[in-house]
Symmetry: C2
């Protein structure tokens, strides 16, 4: 077989159709599309409103085993499955997250799938795209400026500046901004105080945009944001600062989902991208719901492994948006399962059925977990050249012993032709009516018990610990009317436990809740279990040093 | 006469044509336009490149008397004159600056002309528009992050962190960010140092984008940026940080001019918007040059009054870009001239010919100054309801005694029908061949003498003073090869002098150069004469509190 060219080479060679043609195939008229160039468009709000009466298509979640440096290819499989479903005659729409601009200049490069399963235009999607993240940055920082401005002009709300929890954001990896002192330089610059910046994807505004049903809901949620506390400890809301309505104005266009296409000219909505630790890590509700009205099948993904991404997709996004997933695909690679079985990265090229079988415990746990939500499961083995027949047989055998099926997929190298079998299986599961979605805990459970439910049922922890101030804070929020909210656990993505080095399927570990935060606008309580980085740094030789325009004016160095 | 509705009401009632039609009227094919929605587009770089052989149209500068709180309407007149020229059969293209998002939420509201002389879509132009300013913010802050990252990873360039002059930017009025300490919080966040944020329009990247001829020139200028100094006092360039090429990638789309339309469906390029104090205050060179290839007439504006805006337009933009203006329009209002003559704002409704005549000294000085550049002049009296016949007669009389003509213009209330006379006069001046453009000082004059040339010839100062360190710095830059650069004087816009309260036409005042800065990428030396604010604050009741979406989803509160 000929070697597969690099992602950017493949993306650039794509025979893109005009975005109006992609829209037309979904029944969207040119007037209902807001074009951004000739290959990107937002779907107009009026058109989305007109879809209300239509029936919904089937909703398929693509999730994964715990990530390793070996790579799983979750976005690649999401895109590949969308192409595969279209190939076998289903009208399928892909829903993925927008990549963040900041990390492009660090280690990561781009994020729009890979090989022959990509969404295009890859360069635009990875850079400014349609400006959504810039709008979120502006809206977030307008609130920040108005808070300090309120204090400057007399602080009529009696805000305790030591307890302002609302920081600033920038879509950049910039460790120097993590912790700052602002308002230095004297009287005309305000009252000096400690603060800092997070990366834009960590903004609560991002989570809000991704969970809001429409513009009115967006505005209400923005008003609900708690920006800090008064000297009497009562919360101060964004609506007290009178920032919520102007923030909604800044986010008006960003609320509309972005339509692009795959390399095979199938439709993809790329919209929103909240962190999968302090937030829920899924694309926007409005994109998913719109896609469900437009397609027979919607294929979407959730961040990190199923313990974080799928759990939050089910317990936060689906619960709150009233979505009912019909099937789930768990992506695994033989390389990553071997790492879960103890093999070092440098030794992954060597066949090792024993380690693979050991690592399969991680996959088995995720299969069982997803089923606890009432959603039928199939495993996609994202094929690598180094995989041996014995290894493939071993994983298939393991999965079938756990009552599911594992299907080898070659979409990365072959596009939709390589993922037909999985596509048929997904259709079979979705059409079977086997799905009976239910969240893992009810709305009316006390907050600490919700954390315990996730930790014991999903993480298989033996115990959840927390200091008294954390428990008191949770009780105080229950008293304040936030007890019905779901919990969003910020945990390492590398393990079921809070120890990133504990691979496989650990049991009986202790989950310590170090801190809890209220995201009242987004509508969840964040429980933090370990160090969570909300502003990344750049490596010693950042990829920005290599990103450039070539002699033809094309972008090089994104990958 | 029926009262004129509010700007936003007029803008919303506009019968916009599809942007492809506006482009087609200029000979731009749909493929050469990059649409942003149905009423905005960028002009493709390849198309711009294809225009090189064509002859240039006539270039008309719209400038003004020193601004007062009474308002002059320079952008309004620029738009009105463009419509007027089209009305009398000339193919005219308007070139104005993009407004900054930040100030929209402060006092100012929008900035896209007014009354029946506006560019639309007004809301988009005032908010995110095509994302140019967001791209500039990202490019600027990528360099900032890479500087601190370089220091963090060992500081191989031996940068003296006390002498890093490159700050960060945000398109927001946020006084709390003026002066900060960054990299607090311990080892993993870097080395704590003092720094701060400017508003995006004050970024040198903005000035560079507006002066660059093309992408290659942009990239070179970005590399030329001096970000600070080593311990041995030698300069460190952006290219030493290896940030210049990735910055150019971020700015690739932002370099393309934005095409919109006036209320009368005439073409307008709205592109770039550097500060008019620490930078040159003009729209982009690439927009102006493109417009000159597409139209018989190009009407453009420069920031603040003619002492700052026109001087910099001539001495920086025209000199460096090889532009040769054919005529200039000086906008004055009777109200503003009365304020220059000593009348208080509350008394402007009362006829006062004596004060008006006294205030005309300000106008007379600007007429004489513009002529020093070899450019013929006409005065536009931007009509207000309160203007009396006697006052109009007095200003016409004053101007004719100074060898020019003052023409009453009613474009604000009547659109192009109200500005026909001025349009014919502008054509007469431009076709007369009277223009013989020359800058006010030669390239090879020492830097201090250049400052003195502007101060004495344009400001009518008696003396320029500067401490020895400032003079030594200028000499050092001459030695380092920057002696050929033009000077960009940062001075109050309210007076010919450095005292904002000294209206009219002061003479013999002292101009004290407090500080000089090198903008090596933009290609000028900034001479600062007084307090210059590069990060505005918000007022006690910012307009953000009133900006909102109405029940129909339309934006209210921008004006």
């Amino acid at each position: 077989m000929a070697p597969v060219p690099s992602d950017i080479e493949i993306a650039r060679a794509a025979k893109k159709k005009p975005i109006a043609d992609i829209g037309a195939a979904l029944g969207i008229s040119p007037e209902a599309l807001v074009p951004y160039g000739h290959d990107k468009a937002k779907i107009g709000a009026d058109f989305i409103g007109s879809l209300q009466g239509r029936p919904d298509g089937k909703l398929i979640l693509v999730t994964a085993i715990n990530p390793t440096p070996a790579g799983e290819g979750k976005t690649t499989t999401t895109v590949g499955l969308g192409d595969g479903l279209n190939r076998i005659g289903k009208k399928a729409v892909i829903c993925v997250r927008e990549p963040s601009l900041g990390p492009c200049f660090g280690v990561k490069g781009g994020a729009a799938g890979g090989g022959y399963a990509q969404v295009v235009p890859m360069e635009d999607i990875n850079l400014h795209f349609t400006g959504d993240f810039h709008a979120i940055t502006s809206a977030h920082n307008l609130l920040s400026a108005m808070i300090d401005n309120h204090v400057y002009w007399g602080n009529a709300l009696d805000i305790d500046t030591r307890r302002i929890t609302w920081r600033r954001v920038m879509d950049m990896n910039d460790r120097a901004l993590r912790q700052t002192v602002t308002s230095l330089g004297g009287v005309s610059n305000g009252f000096a105080r400690e603060s800092g910046f997070d990366i834009t994807v960590a903004s609560e505004v991002m989570a809000i945009l991704c969970l809001a049903q429409d513009l009115a809901d967006l505005e209400k949620r923005l008003g609900d944001i708690v920006i800090g506390y008064r000297f009497d400890r009562s919360p101060v809301y964004a609506r007290d600062i009178k920032a919520d309505k102007a923030m909604a104005v800044l986010l008006k266009d960003a609320m509309q989902p972005n339509l692009v296409q795959t390399l095979e000219n199938n439709p993809a909505l790329v919209h929103g991208g909240p962190f999968a630790n302090i937030a829920h890590g899924c694309n926007s509700v409005i994109a998913t719901k719109t896609a469900l009205k437009l397609g027979d099948y919607v294929v979407t993904e959730a961040g990190f492994g199923a313990d974080l991404g799928a759990e939050k997709f089910f317990d936060i996004k689906c619960r709150k948006a009233g979505l009912k997933p019909d099937a789930a695909v768990i992506v695994a690679t033989i390389r990553a399962l071997k790492m879960n079985g103890g093999v070092k990265k440098d030794d992954l090229g060597t066949e090792n059925v024993e380690a693979l079988t050991r690592g399969c415990a991680n996959l088995g746990r995720h299969i069982a977990n997803v089923r606890k939500f009432g959603v039928p499961v199939v495993v996609a083995i994202n094929h690598f050249i180094s995989d041996t027949d014995a290894e493939v047989a071993a994983i298939k055998d393991y999965v079938s012993h756990h009552g599911a099926e594992a299907i080898l997929c070659r979409h990365w190298a072959e596009g939709s032709a390589g993922i037909e079998e999985l596509s048929y299986k997904v259709v079979e599961l979705a059409e079977s009516g086997a799905a009976a979605f239910k969240p893992i805990y009810p709305d009316d459970m006390p907050l600490m018990e919700k954390i315990e439910a996730v930790a014991t049922k999903i993480y298989h922890a033996g115990e959840v610990t927390a200091e008294k101030p954390v428990r008191d804070q949770l009780k105080a929020w229950e008293t304040a009317g936030y007890g019905h909210l779901p919990v969003c656990i910020a945990k390492t993505q590398y393990s079921f436990s809070t120890d990133p080095n504990l691979r496989g399927a650990p049991e009986g570990h202790v989950v310590h809740v170090r801190e809890v935060r209220l995201s009242a606008g987004a509508g969840f309580i964040v429980a933090i279990t370990g160090e969570i980085m909300t502003m990344p740094g750049l490596p010693s030789a950042p990829s920005a040093e290599r990103i450039h325009l070539n002699a033809d004016g094309l972008i090089e160095g994104l990958f």
